[in-house]
Symmetry: C2
Subunit: 157 residues, 2 copies
């Protein structure tokens, strides 16, 4: 079971900015920190800005910062919005061009829709702020932005 | 949010055999009924047989039938087993070769694991038998195996 690579990148961008609250971070800096190609970060930044979860200032001292609304955003709500077009399985044949013959009246399809909602409801228990909050006693927090770059930037997402 | 195409095919094969309980169905017949390439069906049939959910008889009058254990199989349990290697997002960088720098101690990763389990738990409320049971008053059941073939067989799954 997978979320789309696009949803993944959006979440990583938002967590990066949440962890760097107050700091202005350029798209190139985000790309370096999360090890994702620059052009994917650009798209995610544009979408998150459109949703009001981040603010972007242009120019020499520009960069993105997380908005208050972004910190308060329920994770399930965000994932639901970013993957609104996905079906859990491709009943309608969007990818194959061939709809499943069972699609019209299928118990599995209904069950998968309920399961998807249970998945999102679980994520709704957390806000973006919760994701970057240090969780365990003595832990320094989840986001170690100072980590050295691992591997190349040629990740396909 | 998607299940893998492989899990999808396995579910369709199992539903086809559940709907045709008592009948022996060849892999080619299954492929025709669910509109999925023959070689994908072959793989799914082998796996489902290995798991004891279907029985396969070779030879002229051969074919697959669903086992009692297959009818009683919890859907979540099956999906969990078929997608055991999947992470909800590619934290470890299996696809990109670049692990996420947050991966080691990430609140999101933990939340996604809980959400995945909520998804499976919802599917565990049903058995395979439930999936092919007529649901609504007056409905003839979910699986209309007599449907004419739609589109080509060139589906990529």
């Amino acid at each position: 079971m997978k979320l789309s690579a696009y949803t993944d990148v959006c979440l990583r961008v938002l967590m990066t900015l949440a962890a760097a609250e107050g700091e202005r971070v350029t798209s190139q800096q985000i790309a370096d920190r999360i090890q994702v190609p620059y052009n994917h970060v650009i798209k995610a930044v544009a979408e998150l800005r459109r949703r009001g979860t981040i603010e972007v200032l242009r120019g020499r001292n520009g960069g993105a910062t997380i908005a208050e609304a972004g910190l308060d955003q329920r994770v399930g709500e965000l994932v639901r919005a970013l993957s609104s077009r996905d079906e859990v399985i491709d009943c309608a044949g969007h990818e194959t061009g061939v709809p499943c013959p069972f699609a019209a009246d299928c118990r599995l399809r209904e069950a998968l829709a309920r399961a998807r909602e249970a998945f999102m409801a679980e994520l709704d228990l957390l806000t973006v702020r919760d994701l970057v909050r240090p969780g365990r006693a003595g832990a320094t927090g989840p986001v170690s932005l100072g980590l050295p770059a691992m591997g190349s930037h040629a990740a396909t997402v």
